[in-house]
Symmetry: C2
Subunit: 337 residues, 2 copies
């Protein structure tokens, strides 16, 4: 039974029911990633930090959840023309694998300067990759054009109800895993690019563990979500700044994600590249996991003290681990933790 028969229904704002439905759809396909804890990390922050390790999700990031939730609902006619997506690399891999598992093809539009391993792995998962210039090209326009020419279906990285609902299964699992350990969370922090992961997670948490405050975390210079939550309307980033957090340097909050996050989030934090690198080195040392820059911003917000975790019990989502070896090596080498 597909919910996507009528294209007019595609731009609704998902609810907790859609997140629960996504959990059923993903059962047996996505990994129920572990909630990791380290005594050494707890001692660093003076609180209890549970790490939702989405780096251990299929394709190395949470993005597989949303991509599979969308693509696996399509019928044969809808799958026939293949899938198109634009992505800096994590949605790319999620869509590539989800398309392969559903016996269709995928073409992914990626910035030419995306990490080499993200491009290579997108191809290994079975997709064709088309690169564009991040500064001069318009990935949305390239995507729409490709879909019109080929009859392919576009799966957007965050402004898509099934993608948001799929990412939200991360939050359902956090609440469930905490209940299993008889833990009540004070807060959940997660990275935000377009805001799909944090929106879906907020829907889940506000239903299943409503006492937890939800915060989004972003790189400095790309804190459009933090500023939008303050102003109450979607604010764009000012051109100019750069960041090592390639996965989440999106221009502004999503159309579908913002109304959810505006209602449910308690605020946002912006972190520097140096704080992100330190967080990656701590994750290496204390947790033995590989976290990419964009996946480490929430941990950076906690370790930097911008979010004060003293005496609190929180969950931090480390959302992805797709980082080139040379970049990772350089970072853990330079940061003594």
């Amino acid at each position: 039974m597909s919910l996507l028969q009528d294209s007019d229904t595609e731009n609704f704002i998902p609810t907790i029911d859609d997140v629960r439905d996504a959990a059923r759809q993903l059962s047996g396909h996505a990994v129920r990633t572990p909630l990791l804890e380290s005594r050494l990390l707890n001692e660093r922050v003076g609180g209890r930090v549970l790490i939702k390790a989405e780096v251990l999700q299929r394709t190395g990031s949470f993005k597989f959840r949303g991509a599979f939730n969308h693509i696996s609902r399509l019928n044969k006619d809808q799958l026939q023309g293949g899938i198109v997506a634009y992505s800096s690399g994590n949605h790319a891999q999620g869509v590539a694998l989800a398309a392969t598992l559903n016996d269709t093809t995928a073409t992914i539009i990626m910035p030419a300067d995306a990490p080499a391993s993200k491009i290579a792995n997108t191809q290994k998962y079975g997709a064709s990759v088309v690169t564009y210039d991040r500064n001069s090209g318009n990935r949305e326009a390239i995507g729409e054009k490709l879909c019109k020419e080929t009859g392919a279906r576009l799966v957007r990285p965050y402004d898509d109800p099934w993608v948001i609902a799929g990412q939200g299964t991360t939050g359902l699992e956090i609440a469930e895993q905490c209940r299993e350990k008889e833990i009540l969370l004070d807060a959940v922090l997660a990275p935000a690019g377009g805001g799909g992961l944090i929106a879906g997670t907020a829907l889940a948490m506000k239903s299943d563990m409503p006492g937890a405050e939800i915060y989004c975390c972003e790189p400095e210079g790309f804190d459009d979500y933090r500023r939008s939550l303050i102003s109450g309307q979607r604010e764009a980033n000012v051109p100019g700044p750069t960041s090592i957090c390639d996965a989440i340097v999106t221009p502004m909050p999503g159309e579908l994600t913002f109304p959810i996050n505006k209602e449910l989030l308690s605020g946002g934090f912006a972190v520097t590249d140096a704080e992100v690198e330190h967080a990656m080195a701590v994750a290496f040392s204390d947790l033995k996991i590989v976290v990419e820059p964009g996946g480490a911003v929430a941990l950076a917000a906690v370790l930097s003290g911008k979010f004060d975790a003293t005496g609190k019990t929180i969950t931090v989502v480390t959302s992805g681990g797709n980082v080139d070896p040379a970049a990772f090596a350089d970072i853990v080498n330079r940061h003594s933790v």
Copy 2:
């Protein structure tokens, strides 16, 4: 109820009943580590590889299991003088944390050339560290002397029935996690130093999934277990060779572990440093986990083809992730996978 009241009973060879008893003892204290899978890794070897990620165990290696299983059974009198252990670094951290959790002190005898992070973290977990020269010192003698002087209790790294039984809970979990996924394993491969992990795991697997062959993996030049399984008696390593696998360069099979492994193992594999480094880089890239050299020998045996995984379904134990950042950075930088 302590099983350790009578010191005459301490040198028995554990059975599956002791492993099951250890699982009860560890419940709520040790992590039930995940069984990870990567499509990219499966494609590399042409089979299905499930990674038992003991790098995600408390203290970053399986050693916490055995240490906690021993120390948590001691009564107040036995705990009063504190704990002594000798270790290259992983048993050290496991004992340090287990002692702290059981409200006693620990003194750990470590080689002066152990990875700096292993020494630092042993101290962070609450233990005192005494270093010795790996080439000229005798760690067993230093340990016995310290125990006599202080009334402390020695917890050996592998020739200890509760330690072997504790490590064996790794195997119980592998069998249980595979049954949950309706998977029948063809083989389990795990690293071997003194042979505690592989012995305990073999006890568990031969009881709960008897069809799986069990293999131990070691560094070249330190393949005492592989050779001992062939000859049928405990063979020592010849002095001279070096290895990056600091965790498992033990001199010969343990007295208590060898009878178990001689009966239950199908054989062993020896891998080179280069094969180990390649395996660490693959674990970084495909699995997003940090594996130390000694923890990667079983994965190296599979990736090198020394164990042919084609068409098979196997579990590989990655037993520890305690590696210095500079060493890890150098390795992932040099190995393109």
